[in-house]
C-alpha cells in the first residue's frame, strides 16, 4: 500500500496515493497535466524541468514526490496571473528572449527564483542564476537582458 502524500502545487493542496518514488516531473506532467516543466535530459543537466520548491529552484526530474511531501511547489502555470509574471512576460517579449520556447518555462522559474532572492541583480548574478538552465537558440544574452530589464521595471514586486 502506498501511503498518501500531500503536496501543495501552484497553491492547491494535492493528495496522492502514487508511488513515493515517482519523479516530481512525471507527477506534474502525467497526473496533474501541468506541462510547463519539460523533460530535456532527465538527469538534472538542462533545467527545462525547473520548478520552485519552497523558494529554491530545483530540477523536478531529480526529485521524487515522496521527498517533497508537505512542500510548496510552483511551476510557470502557478506563476501566471501574478504581477511578477506579467513583468517577466513583457520583458522576455521586448528583449527577444524566446525562440523555440522549450527552455522558457524553466528560465522564467529561474528568473523568479533569482529575483526573489536578489532584487537588484548584477549581470553576473543573472548569469549565475540561469547557469543551470541550458538554451540552444538564444545564446543567453537576450534572456539575461530580459531578466535585468524585469528587475528594473518590476522594482518592489519581488
Amino acid at each position: 500500500m502506498n501511503k498518501t502524500i500531500t503536496l501543495k502545487i501552484n497553491n492547491k493542496i494535492i493528495k496522492t496515493e502514487e508511488n513515493c518514488t515517482k519523479r516530481l516531473l512525471d507527477f506534474l506532467r502525467e497526473d496533474m497535466d501541468i506541462t510547463g516543466p519539460k523533460e530535456g535530459c532527465g538527469e538534472g543537466e538542462c533545467g527545462t524541468c525547473a520548478v520552485i520548491i519552497d523558494k529554491d529552484l530545483v530540477n523536478s526530474c531529480l526529485v521524487t514526490i515522496g521527498s517533497v511531501e508537505g512542500k510548496e511547489i510552483l511551476t510557470v502555470e502557478g506563476l501566471k496571473g501574478t504581477k511578477q509574471f506579467d513583468v517577466l512576460e513583457k520583458c522576455f517579449a521586448e528583449a527577444g528572449a524566446v525562440q523555440c520556447g522549450f527552455c522558457t518555462p524553466g528560465m522564467i522559474m529561474a528568473a523568479q527564483a533569482l529575483l526573489s532572492k536578489i532584487q537588484k541583480p548584477t549581470e553576473d548574478d543573472v548569469r549565475d542564476g540561469i547557469s543551470g538552465n541550458l538554451c540552444r537558440c538564444t545564446g543567453y544574452n537576450m534572456i539575461i537582458n530580459a531578466i535585468l530589464m524585469a528587475a528594473k521595471r518590476g522594482e518592489g514586486l519581488w
Partner: protein, 701 residues
C-alpha cells in the same frame, strides 16, 4: 506605417512563456501505445535471427516485414532501412519497435529479445573507407601548370569534429490510424519530407497520409531528415496495430543515434609566386558520412562551394568525397557543410599570411571577391559585395588591428588574443534544387470576413517564421500582423512550399508570400472567399550543372565578419571569451529583434563548435551520450555580442531580405582559432580547440 524591420512581439510569444504551447510530449493522445527501439549492438553484421519472446495481449513487435511498402527511408538515395532486417551497419541502428500500453512491460520485452549476428569487419576511420557515397570535383584555370611554376608551396591538413544539434526538445513523433488514414504528428522541420517518406513506407496513396508539425523545440538541421526515419517507423506501427503509437526519444538515445554535423578532413595546398602572391589553391575534402547516405551528397556540395571562402584565387581545384563508415549517419546541421570549409580556408589563409610574414587581415584583403567577380564555379557575384565596408565596421567596433598587434608575441600567465573571420553563405538550395526538386508553392486564403491565412509547409522551430511570414503578408496588405493566421503546417491543408532548411524560408518562401499578397491586394474582392496561389520562379542565373559543378550555385549570398577576443590562462589552459563583435549583410532584416536572436544564438553555437563541443567516436560508439558529457555553452561561457548590420537589399527576397539563419554560425570557429593563435603563437589545425589541446600546445612551446 512602420518599416518592416521594426521589432514586434513574436506571434507565439505568450504561449511559450506561460507554458501552454504544446510540444509533442505534452499532447495527450487517448489510448496511445508506447514504443521503444531495439537497436543494433554491432557496427557491421548480418542479422542471423531475432528471437522474440511470447508477447502479452496488446503488445506488438514492429519490424521490417511489417513495412507494407518499401523498407527504406526516402531521403535522397533509398539506402537506409526503416527497420534493419538483413544487416546492420552501425551500433544503434534501429531493428524493430516494441509497442504496447505499459512502458515498463515494453522495456522488459525489449530486454528479452535476442538478436543473433554474424559479424563482419567494420570501418570506423574515414581515411580508410573505400566506400564513397558521393564525389565531385571542379577546377578553375590550370592547377597543374600553376603548381609547376610556383616558387613555393604551402600545404596543410585540417580536421573538424562532430557537432550535435542539442535542440532542447528531443526527437518525437506520434503515429495514428483512423478510417484508412495514417497520420504522424511530431517535432520536425519538413512535413512534406516526412509525408513522402511515409507514402513510400506504406506504399499507399498521397491522400492516405497526413503529417502535422507540432510546436518544435529547436531543430538546427537535426529535424530536417531524421523525422523521416522515426516518422516512417511510427506510421508503420500505427498501420499495423491500428492504434496510436508514441515514440519520444530520451536524450541519451537522441545524442547517440540521431544525425550530426559531418566530421571532416580538409587538405589545403597553396601555390605562391616569387612575390608571395597566391596563384593557385588545391583543396581536397573528405566528409565522414556515417553508415547511410542521408543528405550527405548535398552537404558535400556546400562544403566544396565554400572551399575557397570569400577569395578570388586565379587557379583552383577543389575535389571532395563523402565516405561511408560504420558509425551513426551524419546529416544536416545549420551551415550544412559550410562551417567545416570556412574554418579551413580562413585558417589556411591566416597560416599562409604568417609564413610570408604578413598579418592575416592584410593578406586576406588582397584576395577578397568583389561585385561582379566570378564565383569559384564560374557563376557571378552579381549582387553588391560590401566586404570592405564590413571590415571597416568590424575594425571600428572591435579595434581589431590595434589589439591584434598589441596581443602578438606576448609572454606571461594570462594571454590575450583576438581573431577575425570573413565568410559568406549561399542563400537557398544548392544549384538548381529550388527549380528542379522543390518547386515551392504557397497559398494565401482570404476568408469572407477579410481574415487572411498563410498556407505553407514551412515550420517555426524557434527562428521566428510565425512572426516574420505574418509581417511580410501584413505589410503588403496594410494589416496588423496579429490578424494574419499561420498555423503549424498540416499537409492536408497546406501546399508543399518546401523544407525549412538551407536559409531559404525568408528569401524564397517569403518572396512567394510577398508576391501572393500583392496579387491578393490587386484582386481583392470584398466579402468573398479568395485563394491566391504562387509558384516558384527561378531567377535569371548562369545555369547550374551538377556534373561539371559549374554555374551559379546560389542566387545570392549573405556575408559576415566575426571578431572573437579571448584570454587564455597558460597554467590551467582555460580560455575565457572576453569579446565578440560581428558585422552581417543579410540584405534587410524582416524583424530586428528576431535577427538579433539569430545572430546571438548562431554565433554562440559556432563558439561551442570551436571550443567545448567535443564528440568522439571510438569503435563505432560515440563517447559522449548525455548533456553532461557533451558540453554546450552555458550563460557563464558567453559574453554580450556587439553586432552591426550592413543594409544591402536584394530584390530576390521580400523587402530586400536574404538568408540569415545559417550564416550566423559559420564564422565563429575560424575567428576563435585565429584568436587562440594570436594569444599563444601556436598553429591551430583542428576544432574543437579543447583545454587539453591548448595544454599540449603550451607544453610543446
Amino acid at each position: 506605417m512602420d518599416s518592416i524591420r521594426k521589432s514586434v512581439v513574436k506571434a507565439d510569444h505568450k504561449i511559450k512563456v506561460d507554458g501552454s504551447a504544446k510540444y509533442i510530449a505534452d499532447i495527450k493522445f487517448n489510448n496511445r501505445l508506447h514504443a521503444k527501439t531495439l537497436r543494433s549492438e554491432k557496427a557491421k553484421a548480418i542479422i542471423k535471427s531475432i528471437l522474440i519472446p511470447d508477447l502479452k495481449d496488446g503488445y506488438y513487435v514492429v519490424e521490417g516485414k511489417d513495412v507494407p511498402g518499401l523498407n527504406k527511408v526516402k531521403v535522397i538515395q533509398n539506402d537506409m532501412p526503416i527497420f534493419a532486417d538483413k544487416e546492420v551497419n552501425y551500433i544503434g541502428e534501429p531493428i524493430l519497435l516494441v509497442v504496447g500500453p505499459k512502458l515498463e512491460e515494453v522495456i522488459k520485452i525489449l530486454n528479452e529479445i535476442k538478436v543473433e549476428y554474424e559479424e563482419d569487419i567494420p570501418v570506423f576511420d574515414m581515411r580508410e573507407s573505400k566506400d564513397i557515397f558521393a564525389k565531385y570535383e571542379y577546377e578553375k584555370g590550370n592547377i597543374k601548370d600553376t603548381f609547376k611554376k610556383a616558387s613555393r608551396v604551402i600545404e596543410e591538413e585540417f580536421y573538424t569534429g562532430y557537432q550535435e544539434q542539442a535542440y532542447l526538445e528531443t526527437q518525437g513523433v506520434v503515429g495514428t490510424y483512423k478510417d484508412g488514414k495514417t497520420s504522424v504528428y511530431g517535432t520536425m522541420q519538413c512535413p512534406y519530407y516526412v509525408k513522402n517518406a511515409v507514402i513510400q513506407a506504406l506504399g499507399c496513396n498521397e491522400d492516405e497520409v497526413r503529417i502535422v508539425q507540432t510546436t518544435t523545440g529547436g531543430g538546427f538541421g537535426g529535424k530536417e531528415d531524421y523525422p523521416s526515419l522515426i516518422g516512417s517507423q511510427v506510421a508503420v506501427a500505427a498501420y499495423k496495430t491500428k492504434k496510436t503509437v508514441r515514440l519520444v526519444l530520451e536524450r541519451g538515445e537522441d545524442i547517440s543515434y540521431s544525425t550530426k554535423r559531418h566530421p571532416a578532413l580538409l587538405k589545403y595546398k597553396s601555390a605562391l609566386d616569387e612575390k608571395n602572391n597566391i596563384i593557385g589553391m588545391d583543396v581536397d575534402i573528405t566528409l565522414d558520412g556515417g553508415a547511410y547516405a542521408t543528405l550527405s551528397s548535398v552537404v558535400l556540395q556546400r562544403s566544396l562551394l565554400c572551399a575557397i571562402g570569400v577569395y578570388n584565387i586565379p587557379n583552383i581545384k577543389v575535389n571532395g568525397k563523402v565516405v561511408k563508415t560504420n558509425t551513426p549517419p551524419n546529416g544536416a546541421f545549420r551551415g550544412f557543410g559550410g562551417p567545416q570549409s570556412i574554418f579551413a580556408i580562413e585558417t589556411h589563409m591566416a597560416h599562409v599570411a604568417k609564413e610570408i610574414k604578413c598579418t592575416p587581415l592584410e593578406f586576406k584583403n588582397k584576395y577578397l571577391v568583389k561585385t561582379n567577380d566570378d564565383t569559384s564555379t564560374g557563376g557571378k557575384f552579381s549582387y553588391e559585395v560590401k566586404l570592405k565596408e564590413m571590415i571597416e565596421k568590424a575594425e571600428k567596433i572591435s579595434d581589431f588591428s590595434e589589439k591584434y598587434k598589441k596581443y602578438s608575441n606576448k609572454k606571461g600567465i594570462i594571454r590575450k588574443g583576438i581573431g577575425m573571420s570573413i565568410f559568406l553563405h549561399g542563400c537557398g538550395f544548392t544549384g538548381s534544387g529550388e527549380r528542379d526538386l522543390i518547386k515551392a508553392k504557397v497559398k494565401l486564403l482570404k476568408y469572407e470576413d477579410g481574415i487572411i491565412e498563410i498556407l505553407v509547409a514551412n515550420t517555426d522551430m524557434g527562428q521566428g517564421l510565425k512572426t516574420t511570414f505574418k509581417k511580410i503578408v501584413a505589410k503588403v496588405l496594410d494589416k496588423n500582423y496579429e490578424d494574419i493566421i499561420y498555423k503549424n503546417p498540416d499537409t492536408d491543408r497546406v501546399p508543399d512550399s518546401g523544407p525549412t532548411a538551407a536559409s531559404r524560408s525568408i528569401m524564397v518562401v517569403g518572396k512567394l508570400l510577398e508576391r501572393a499578397a500583392n496579387r491578393l491586394k490587386e484582386n481583392w474582392i470584398e466579402g468573398e472567399e479568395q485563394i491566391i496561389e504562387e509558384n516558384y520562379k527561378h531567377p535569371d542565373l548562369i545555369p547550374w550543372d551538377i556534373e561539371k559543378f559549374n554555374g551559379d550555385a546560389y542566387p545570392s549570398y549573405s556575408w559576415g565578419i566575426n571578431v572573437v577576443e579571448v584570454e587564455v590562462n597558460t597554467i590551467t589552459a582555460s580560455t575565457e571569451v572576453t569579446g565578440i563583435y560581428t558585422v552581417f549583410d543579410i540584405g534587410i532584416p524582416i524583424d530586428e529583434t528576431i535577427m538579433e536572436g539569430q545572430i546571438q544564438g548562431g554565433v554562440i553555437q559556432g563558439l561551442g563548435y570551436a571550443s567545448c563541443e567535443n564528440m568522439e567516436c571510438e569503435d563505432g560508439k560515440l563517447k559522449q551520450h548525455s548533456i553532461t558529457d557533451y558540453i554546450i555553452p552555458t550563460s557563464k561561457d558567453v559574453v554580450n555580442i556587439k553586432n552591426v548590420l550592413v543594409d544591402n537589399p536584394c530584390d530576390l527576397g521580400p523587402f530586400g531580405a536574404k538568408g540569415a539563419g545559417e550564416l550566423t554560425l559559420v564564422g565563429t570557429a575560424p575567428a576563435y582559432a585565429d584568436a587562440i593563435e594570436n594569444a599563444l603563437s601556436v598553429k591551430v589545425n583542428k576544432i574543437p580547440i579543447t583545454p587539453e589541446w591548448i595544454m599540449e600546445a603550451i607544453t610543446n612551446e
